[in-house]
C-alpha cells in the first residue's frame, strides 16, 4: 500500500512528525517499508508566466524570454527548451535558487550569468532539473490557473512524503488511506475526518436491471447510471498528484476516479459503458468453456468455480478481479453504469492467481472489502465524476442479500493478561477498542470480567478471543511488554552416551581434512540417472530451473559439481562432504510420527576426495588419493560404531556384477556393511563419468546412511591378561583375486580362544612370487588369560591357521 503523507493527514492529522508517524505505524503492524520525500530539496523556484519569446541573437537553439515571476520585475531569461512559448506557466528558478545537485549535499546554485553574451536572470526548469521525474523533454508545464509568484513547492504541494507500507494478509482494511487513517487515529487519539459521502441527488430515473443469480457469492450489488458524462475531461491536478504519489498511473478521468475512491475508501468500483451492455447484468458463476477478453487484453476461459459478471452476451467481467474489454468505458463513452459490489473473499481467493495475474480489486476482495461502504463509495465516485465530467445521475440501485454475519466476539480480561504476560487494566483495554472504532461491552467482574465487541464491517480478522487479544497487545504496544526471563522447573535434559549427533559426524569429517558443503536438494535429472542406485525419482512440479528439477536420491552429484567448481578455480586437491536428506518414492514407507507415507527421505553423509593424498608439503612424498585412503577415512568415521575387538561389525563387500553401482568403477567399489546391514557404498568414480564430467582423474567417494552411525553401544570392559602375549609373523602366497577378508574370516572362524588378532601387515607382488599370485604377510597375536603360552602352544595355533589357509584357499607358506 502506497500513499502520500498529505493525503493521510487530510483524514487524520496527529501532532507528530513524519518519522514518529512512520515508527508508530510500523510498531502497530503496518510496516513502513519506505518513506521518501516526493521531491528533493530545492528552493527559490516560483510559478512564472512567459510573456514573450525571442530568438537569442547569438544562438539559434536558444531563446530569450521575458518572464513574470511575480516579483514585480520582468525577468529576462535565456532558455533552450523546445516547448517554451508565450503564455505558458513554468517553474522559474530565481537568482540565488538552490536546485538539486549531482549529490544530495551539493546544491546547484542559480547565478546571474551571461549565456552567449546575453544576461540570463534565472532559469526556467524541466521536471528533471527539479528532481521531480526523469523527464527532460522540455520545460515543466504548470497548470495555467496557478498564481504567478507562488512558491513551486507550495503550488505543487511538494513538501510531501511517499509512504510504502507492507501489509500482512489479515489487514485488508488498511488497503486504503481511510483504513490507515483509522489506525493512526486509534494509535494517537487524533480524531478521524472521513471524506464527504453525502448522497448525490438523482436528476434522472435511469436504472439498469441487475439480477444476482448467486446471492451467497455476491451478497451486495450496488449500481448507478450516469448519462452524459464527458469522459475526455482532464483529471484535476490534486487527484493526479495523489494517485501518482500512490503509485497509480493516471489513465482517464473515469478510471482515475474509481482508482481514487478505491485508494481513499478501500472500495473497488467498476465503470461500464452503458451503451455496450446487453440486456440485464447478472452475477453468476461461469459456464465451462465460456471465454472473456479482459481489460488487460488477456483472454481467459472460465468455469463453474469462477464468479462472473455477465449480460445477455455472456460474461463481461471476472467478479472482483477485472472488467471485460467489450463493455469498457473509453474516452468517447457518454453514459456509464457504476458498479460497487461486495463478493465473498473465499469466492475470489486464488482465482486471479489461477489466471496468472493479480489486480488491485482482486487483492482487496480476496482479503475482504468493507461491505458497508458500497453506498459511500458510489456516492463519493458520483460526486467526483459529476465535478470532473459532468452528467445526469440516476438513483442508486442497492441489491442486498445475506451480508457476512458479524457475531460479537468476547474476550476474557484475565486470559488476555495471561497470553500477553502483562496486567493491562480493563479500562485501558476498553479505551483501545473504542479508538479502533469498535466499542466494547463489559460484563462480569474480577476473574470473570469480559469485554465484547461487534467486529466492524471493514475488519475480516476479528473472529475469536485471540484476535481481540492481539488488538490489545498491538495497540497497547509490543515495545511496552517486558522481556521476562523465563521461569521453569529445573529439570535435567540428559544427553545419552549411546547416541552421537550429526554434528559429531561433521567434526570427525573436518578432523579428517574434509570441508563441509551444502548443496541444493533439487538437482539435474542427469545426475540422478548417472549416480543413483535408488528406484523412483521425485520430480518437482514447479522447478525454478531445469537443472533443479528433480529431488536428489544421492548426494554424489552435488559433490562432483563441487569438485568441478573448485577445479575451475585452480584448486588441485578437493576433499568435501555433505550431510543432508535424499528422497525417493518408496511404497514401503508408511505414515509415521516423523515420516510421510510413500516417501523415503533418509539423512545421508557423503564424502569425495580428489587429488594429492596430502597437501603439498616438504618432506612428504605425495601421491594421488585412492580407494584405500578414503576407506581409512570411512573407518575413522565409523570407529565409534564398531566393537574394538578383532573382527568388528564393519565389512566391505564387492558389488556383484549384476548389482554394480552406476556411479562407480565396478572393480573399485564396495558396499559398506555395518553389523550385517548395507549402510552405503564407497568407490572410485566410474571412468565413463570421469570422462563425461570432464575430470582429470577419478575422485573416490562414499555415501552412508547416518541413522546407523548415530547409535553407539556402551563400552564394556574385558579383563586384560597379565600373561605375556606371543607375536608371530607369517607370509603366504595366494592367487591374486583372493580377497583378504575371506582369509581373515576363515582364520577367525576356527574359533581359537587365545587368538587375539590376525592383521595383514604386508602385501607383496614381484620377484619370488609367481605371476598371478600375491604374498600376504600376517601378524598373529596370541595370549592366554590364565597362564603363559609356551612355544609349543603357539606352534599349534600357527599350524591350524596355515592348515585352514592351505585347505580353503590353496595358500602356501612363503619361506
Amino acid at each position: 500500500m502506497q500513499f502520500s503523507e498529505h493525503w493521510l493527514r487530510s483524514l487524520c492529522n496527529p501532532p507528530i512528525d513524519t518519522e514518529e508517524l512512520s515508527h508508530r505505524l510500523t510498531m502497530a503492524g503496518l510496516e513502513v517499508e519506505e518513506c521518501q520525500p516526493v521531491a528533493p530539496a530545492f528552493n527559490g523556484v516560483v510559478v512564472a508566466e512567459v510573456l514573450s519569446v525571442e530568438r537569442h541573437p547569438n544562438a539559434d537553439r536558444l531563446a530569450l524570454c521575458q518572464v513574470d515571476d511575480g516579483s514585480g520585475h520582468v525577468r529576462s531569461i535565456v532558455c533552450g527548451a523546445p516547448n517554451v512559448a508565450v503564455g505558458i506557466k513554468v517553474a522559474c528558478a530565481r537568482i540565488g535558487a538552490q536546485l538539486p545537485g549531482e549529490t544530495a549535499d551539493k546544491a546547484f546554485v542559480i547565478k546571474l550569468a551571461k549565456m552567449r553574451g546575453v544576461e540570463s536572470q534565472g532559469m526556467l526548469c524541466s521536471a528533471r532539473e527539479l528532481g521531480l521525474s526523469s523527464d527532460h523533454e522540455g520545460l515543466l508545464l504548470l497548470n495555467e490557473t496557478l498564481a504567478v509568484g507562488t512558491e513551486l513547492r507550495e503550488a505543487l504541494s511538494l513538501d510531501d512524503n511517499r509512504f510504502v507500507i507492507k501489509l500482512t494478509p489479515n489487514r485488508a482494511d488498511c488497503l486504503s488511506v481511510l483504513g490507515v487513517a483509522r489506525e493512526v487515529a486509534a494509535l494517537t487519539g487524533t480524531p478521524l475526518r472521513t471524506p464527504d459521502v453525502t448522497p448525490v441527488v438523482a436528476t434522472s430515473d435511469d436504472k439498469f436491471s441487475t439480477r444476482i443469480s448467486d446471492r451467497k457469492a455476491c451478497p451486495r450489488f450496488t449500481s448507478r447510471v450516469i448519462r452524459g458524462v464527458n469522459a475526455a475531461a482532464a483529471t484535476p491536478d490534486w487527484m493526479r498528484q495523489r494517485l501518482e504519489r500512490a503509485g497509480q498511473r493516471c489513465i482517464s478521468a473515469l478510471v482515475d476516479v474509481t482508482n481514487y475512491v478505491m485508494l481513499e475508501l478501500g472500495r473497488p468500483l467498476h465503470v461500464y459503458d452503458l451503451r455496450k451492455l446487453r440486456g440485464v447484468i447478472d452475477v453468476r458463476f461461469g459456464k465451462t468453456g465460456e471465454q472473456l477478453k479482459l481489460l488487460n487484453e488477456q483472454i481467459v476461459t472460465v468455469d463453474e468455480s469462477v464468479l462472473c459478471i455477465a449480460d445477455d452476451s455472456g460474461p463481461i467481467g471476472l467478479a472482483g478481479i477485472m472488467g471485460g474489454d467489450s463493455t469498457k468505458a473509453d474516452l468517447s463513452t457518454a453514459d456509464i453504469l457504476l458498479e460497487s459490489a461486495f463478493f465473498l473473499p473465499e469466492i475470489i481467493a486464488g482465482r486471479a492467481k489461477r489466471f496468472g495475474f493479480s489486480s488491485d480489486a482482486s487483492h482487496r476482495f480476496e482479503r475482504g472489502v468493507d461491505f458497508d461502504n458500497n453506498l459511500a463509495g458510489i456516492e463519493r465516485a458520483t460526486r467526483l465524476i459529476l465535478d470532473i465530467c459532468g452528467g445526469e445521475p440516476g438513483p442508486v440501485t442497492d441489491v442486498v442479500h445475506d451480508l457476512p454475519a458479524r457475531s460479537a466476539v468476547t474476550m476474557r480480561v484475565v486470559r488476555a493478561r495471561r497470553v500477553i504476560g502483562v496486567a493491562i487494566s480493563s479500562d485501558e483495554m476498553i479505551g483501545i477498542f473504542d479508538r479502533l472504532g469498535m466499542p466494547a461491552r463489559r460484563s462480569g467482574s474480577g476473574e470473570a470480567e469480559c469485554l465484547s465487541i461487534d467486529p466492524p464491517s471493514w475488519r475480516f480478522d476479528l473472529r475469536i478471543e485471540e484476535d481481540l487479544i492481539e488488538e490489545i497487545a498491538r495497540v497497547w504496544g509490543f515495545e511496552r511488554i517486558p522481556a521476562k526471563p523465563p521461569i521453569a522447573p529445573a529439570a535435567m535434559l540428559p544427553a545419552s552416551e549411546l547416541v552421537r549427533s550429526l554434528h559429531d559426524l561433521r567434526h570427525t569429517m573436518a578432523a579428517s581434512e574434509f570441508r563441509e558443503v551444502i548443496n541444493f536438494s533439487f538437482v539435474e535429472a542427469r545426475w540422478e540417472s548417472d549416480f543413483s542406485r535408488e528406484g523412483s525419482v521425485l520430480q518437482l512440479l514447479n522447478p525454478i530451473a531445469s537443472q533443479m528439477s528433480v529431488m536428489r536420491s544421492t548426494l554424489a552429484g552435488g559433490l562432483i559439481a563441487n569438485l568441478r567448481f573448485n577445479l575451475n578455480r585452480k584448486m588441485s586437491r578437493v576433499r568435501v562432504f555433505e550431510i543432508g536428506r535424499v528422497f525417493w518414492r518408496d511404497t514401503a514407507q508408511s505414515e509415521e510420527a516423523l515420516a510421510v507415507k510413500g516417501i523415503a527421505q533418509p539423512v545421508r553423509i557423503a564424502a569425495l576426495a580428489f587429488g594429492p593424498v596430502a597437501e603439498e608439503q616438504w618432506g612428504l612424498a605425495n601421491r594421488s588419493v585412492d580407494f584405500y585412503d578414503l576407506k581409512n577415512d570411512l573407518e575413522h568415521l565409523l570407529a565409534p560404531n564398531c566393537p574394538k575387538q578383532w573382527g568388528g561389525g564393519l565389512r566391505f563387500d564387492a558389488f556383484t556384477s549384476e548389482h554394480a553401482h552406476p556411479a562407480l568403477h565396478p572393480g573399485r567399489s564396495a558396499r559398506v556393511i555395518l553389523d550385517g546391514c548395507d549402510i552405503g557404498w564407497i568407490g572410485e568414480l566410474h571412468p565413463r563419468h570421469q570422462a563425461g564430467y570432464e575430470l582429470p582423474q577419478a575422485p573416490v567417494l562414499f555415501e552412508l546412511d547416518t541413522k546407523p552411525l548415530l547409535r553407539l553401544s556402551l563400552a564394556k570392559h574385558a579383563e586384560v591378561s597379565r600373561f605375556p602375549a606371543v607375536m608371530r609373523d607369517f607370509a603366504v602366497v595366494v592367487p591374486e583375486q583372493l580377497a583378504v577378508q575371506s582369509m581373515l574370516d576363515a582364520m577367525r572362524a576356527i574359533g581359537i580362544d587365545c587368538l587375539k588378532s590376525v592383521s595383514l601387515f604386508d602385501l607383496y607382488r614381484g620377484k619370488g612370487v609367481p605371476d598371478g599370485c600375491k604374498s600376504l604377510a600376517f601378524r598373529v597375536i596370541m595370549q592366554e588369560n590364565q597362564r603363559t603360552m609356551t612355544d609349543q602352544d603357539a606352534d599349534a595355533v600357527m599350524a591350524s591357521l596355515l592348515r585352514v589357509l592351505s585347505e580353503s584357499f590353496g595358500a602356501s607358506l612363503r619361506s
Binding site: M27, A28, G29, E31, P169, A349, G350, E366, R418, V419, I420, G421, V422, E465, E466, I469, A473, R474, F478, I481, A483, K484, P486, A488, L493, A495, H503, R506, A510, S512, E513, F514, R515, E516, I518, N519, S521, F522, L538, L540, L541, N542, I544, G558, F565, R569, M571, F577, G580, R581, F583, A593, V596, K597, I599, A614, E615, Q617, W618, G619
Partner: protein, 338 residues
C-alpha cells in the same frame, strides 16, 4: 720436592691442550701409568730413609690426586664439548611447518545450527528433526493456513509429483513449523523443543535462496506468555552474538499459526550495520486452533513459537554479505570457518 709441583703443573698444562679422549688417556699414562712419573716416584719411596718416607709419600699422593682431578675435569670438559657439538649439529629449523594431515572445516551455517542447539539446550530445549517433503496438512492446514488463504501466497511453495492420502500434492516444507505439530503430537507439555532444518521456497535472487535453513522453537506449558517469548528470544540473541550491544524489537505482524504475532528485528549498536533494524525471525503465541491440532486443550495450555533463518544469523555473526556463498561449495570461502 719442588719438582712435584712442576710435574703437576706440567700435567695440568698438558691435559688442557688435549682435544680428544684417547690422547687424554695417553697423557694420563705418562703421569699415572705403570711407568708414569708419579708411579716411578712412589716406587722410589722405598729407597728413602723411613723418617722421610711418610712425608714424601703424602706429598706424592697429594700430587697424584691433583693430577687425577685435573684429568677428570678435562674428561668432563671434553664430553660436554662433544655433546654440545652433537646437539649443535642435530639442531632443526623449528620454523619449518609441521608435517602430515591438515584440518577440514564445518560449514558456517552448521556452526550456527550447532550453537543455536547448544544455547537452547542449556535451558532445557530438546532438538527434533523431521521430513522435508511434507503433506499439505502439516505444512499449512494444521498451522491454521487453509487452501486458498491469501497467507499461502506469503510462502511460494515447491510441489513434487507425488500425492498424500487426501490426493493433495506433496510439497517441500516452506518452514520448519510442521515440526511443531509433529513433535507436539508425540509429547506431553511442558513441550520445549527446537527444530532446525532445511526449508524451501520458490524464490531466488541476491537475498533469497530457494533452499535455506530455519530453526523452529516451541514452548508450550500452562502459562507461557508473550512476555516470556520476549525474554527467551532476547536472551538467545545476546548469547548467540555474545554481546549485550544488540537491541531486539518485536513488531506486530501476522502468521496464521500464531496470535499475537511478531516479527523480530535486531540492531547492533556498533559495527558496520550499526543502528539498522534487521529482520531475523517470525514469532508469536501459538494460535488456539494450532494448539488443538497438537491434540491439546488451548484453555489449559498456551505458549510461544518462533522461526528464525539460520543463514541470516550466520551472515550477521561472521560478516558474510552474500547469501549465495553458502551454497557454492567454494573451498576458499569454506576454509575460513572452523
Amino acid at each position: 720436592m719442588a719438582d712435584l709441583d712442576l710435574i703437576v703443573s706440567e700435567a695440568v698444562a698438558a691435559f688442557a691442550v688435549i682435544a680428544d679422549a684417547p690422547a687424554l688417556e695417553q697423557a694420563k699414562a705418562r703421569y699415572l701409568g705403570k711407568t708414569g712419573v708419579l708411579t716411578e716416584l712412589l716406587k722410589g719411596l722405598g729407597k728413602l730413609p723411613p723418617e722421610q718416607r711418610r712425608d714424601s709419600g703424602a706429598q706424592i699422593n697429594a700430587a697424584k690426586q691433583r693430577i687425577e682431578s685435573a684429568l677428570e675435569a678435562r674428561r668432563e670438559a671434553l664430553a660436554a664439548g662433544a655433546l654440545n657439538a652433537r646437539l649443535a649439529q642435530e639442531a632443526l629449523d623449528v620454523s619449518l611447518p609441521g608435517r602430515g594431515r591438515g584440518r577440514g572445516s564445518v560449514h558456517p551455517v552448521m556452526l550456527s545450527w550447532q550453537r543455536v542447539e547448544a544455547i537452547f539446550h542449556s535451558i532445557g530445549f530438546d532438538v527434533a528433526d523431521g521430513p522435508e517433503i511434507e503433506t499439505d496438512w502439516f505444512n499449512f492446514t494444521a498451522l491454521n493456513n487453509p487452501a486458498n488463504h491469501p497467507a499461502r501466497s506469503m510462502q511460494d511453495t515447491f510441489y513434487v509429483d507425488a500425492k498424500d492420502s487426501e490426493g493433495l500434492p506433496l510439497l517441500l516444507r516452506t518452514h520448519t513449523s510442521p515440526m511443531q505439530v509433529r513433535y507436539a503430537r508425540q509429547h506431553q507439555p511442558p513441550i520445549k523443543v527446537i527444530a532446525p532444518g532445511r526449508t524451501y521456497r520458490v524464490d531466488s535472487d541476491a537475498t533469497h535462496s530457494p533452499m535455506f535453513h530455519q530453526v523452529e522453537g516451541l514452548w508450550i506449558a500452562e502459562d507461557v506468555s508473550f512476555a516470556d517469548l520476549k525474554g527467551v528470544f532476547l536472551d538467545f540473541i545476546r548469547r548467540f552474538f555474545e554481546s549485550d550491544d544488540v537491541q531486539v524489537r518485536f513488531r506486530p505482524s501476522y502468521f496464521p499459526f500464531t496470535e499475537p504475532s511478531a516479527e523480530i528485528d535486531i540492531a547492533f549498536s556498533s559495527g558496520p550495520l550499526q543502528g539498522r533494524w534487521l529482520e531475523v525471525a517470525g514469532s508469536g503465541q501459538v494460535h488456539p486452533q494450532v494448539i488443538r491440532n497438537f491434540g491439546l486443550d488451548p484453555e489449559r495450555y498456551m505458549g510461544f513459537a518462533f522461526g528464525t533463518g539460520i543463514e541470516r544469523l550466520t551472515m550477521l555473526r561472521y560478516g558474510i554479505d552474500d547469501l549465495r556463498l553458502f551454497f557454492e561449495g567454494d573451498l576458499r570461502f569454506l576454509s575460513q570457518f572452523g
